[in-house]
């Protein structure tokens, strides 16, 4: 279901989606195929008021560089929007880049 949604968004915007935030609780950060989420720089959700939540998962790649399962975060009740920061390292590009975006759930 999620992959289909990603594809649809890619089609609408003419560019591929790299990550998706699935509402919870907990919030689930899902990477598109071929996109790795940097586990050494845990994704952050900056809430209004200054609280910063970090996404995490116990499941990492053997070198501990990337998440092997979608990391999660549990925002406090009432929080509905924030700024998401993710360090992504597409597997075919051999680089990391930082993505920052507004998020609401």
């Amino acid at each position: 279901m999620l992959v289909a949604t990603l594809a649809a968004v890619a089609s609408c915007h003419g560019r591929p989606a790299l990550v998706a935030l699935e509402a919870g609780p907990p919030l689930l950060l899902v990477a598109a195929p071929g996109v790795r989420i940097n586990a050494r720089l845990k994704p952050a959700l900056e809430l209004d008021g200054g609280t910063v939540l970090r996404f995490d998962s116990p499941h990492l790649t053997p070198d501990s560089a990337y998440f092997a399962a979608a990391p999660t975060a549990a925002p406090p009740g009432g929080a509905r929007r924030g700024t998401l920061r993710v360090s992504i390292c597409p597997s075919r590009e051999d680089i990391c880049r930082s993505v920052q975006m507004a998020a609401a759930w």
Binding site: V19, R85, R97, A104
Partner: protein, 192 residues
């Protein structure tokens, strides 16, 4: 600046928020060192960083004329960066005495809460990686922006006159094709 704000699409009925990503860039374009800059090149922007490790005092390119300088934009939280470090350590071992200065420009991805700005964390990362060449803390991204860098890791090779001659980005490993290409470029500039 690599960080971008991206649009979001909300499908409320499924409580799923989808974030549109960046335009994909071909692997070849990313991984290969860029071709030589145009004839004559451009002067390398001066380094203005105040906080340095493995250096007695802040380094300035103007004081390194006569040496070839390889700038490596990196951050210790980037696996692609740390996996490239052994290659840089090898260049340093091989070429330092022959006129190469490697300078790490340590540029955080996230705000200070992530720990990348912390000097102690960087010290430990340098020790862990066996890095003995100078590193500047580029916590305000001043040097990153001055060079128009977009990805971790990135590389800028500056000749003895202070001119940017080669740029590129992407992880590489000891003795792979990109390693050999950068090696040839370093040797070429050292011979000029």
């Amino acid at each position: 600046m690599t960080t971008r704000r991206e649009g979001v699409v909300l499908t409320a009925s499924r409580a799923v928020l989808v974030v549109a990503g960046l335009v994909a860039v071909s692997a070849a374009a990313i991984r290969r060192p860029a071709p030589p800059s145009s004839a004559g090149g451009t002067p390398a922007p001066e380094l203005t960083n105040a906080s340095w490790l493995n250096a007695d005092r802040p380094l300035r390119l103007s004081e390194l004329r006569g040496r070839v300088v390889l700038l490596n934009f990196w951050v210790f939280t980037c696996g692609n960066c740390t996996r490239t470090v052994p290659s840089l350590v090898e260049y340093d071992r091989q070429y330092r005495e022959r006129g190469l200065t490697i300078i790490g420009i340590h540029t955080p991805e996230f705000p200070p809460y992530a720990g990348e700005h912390d000097k102690g964390n960087l010290v430990r990362a340098l020790q862990r990686q066996g890095i003995t060449y100078p590193n500047a803390q580029d916590n305000d991204r001043r040097t990153w922006d001055a060079y128009g860098i977009r990805y971790w890791p990135s590389f800028v090779l500056v000749d003895k006159r202070g001119i940017v001659r080669y740029t590129g980005y992407g992880e590489f490993h000891l003795n792979d094709g990109d390693f050999r290409e950068w090696d040839r470029r370093i040797a070429r500039l050292l011979a000029e």
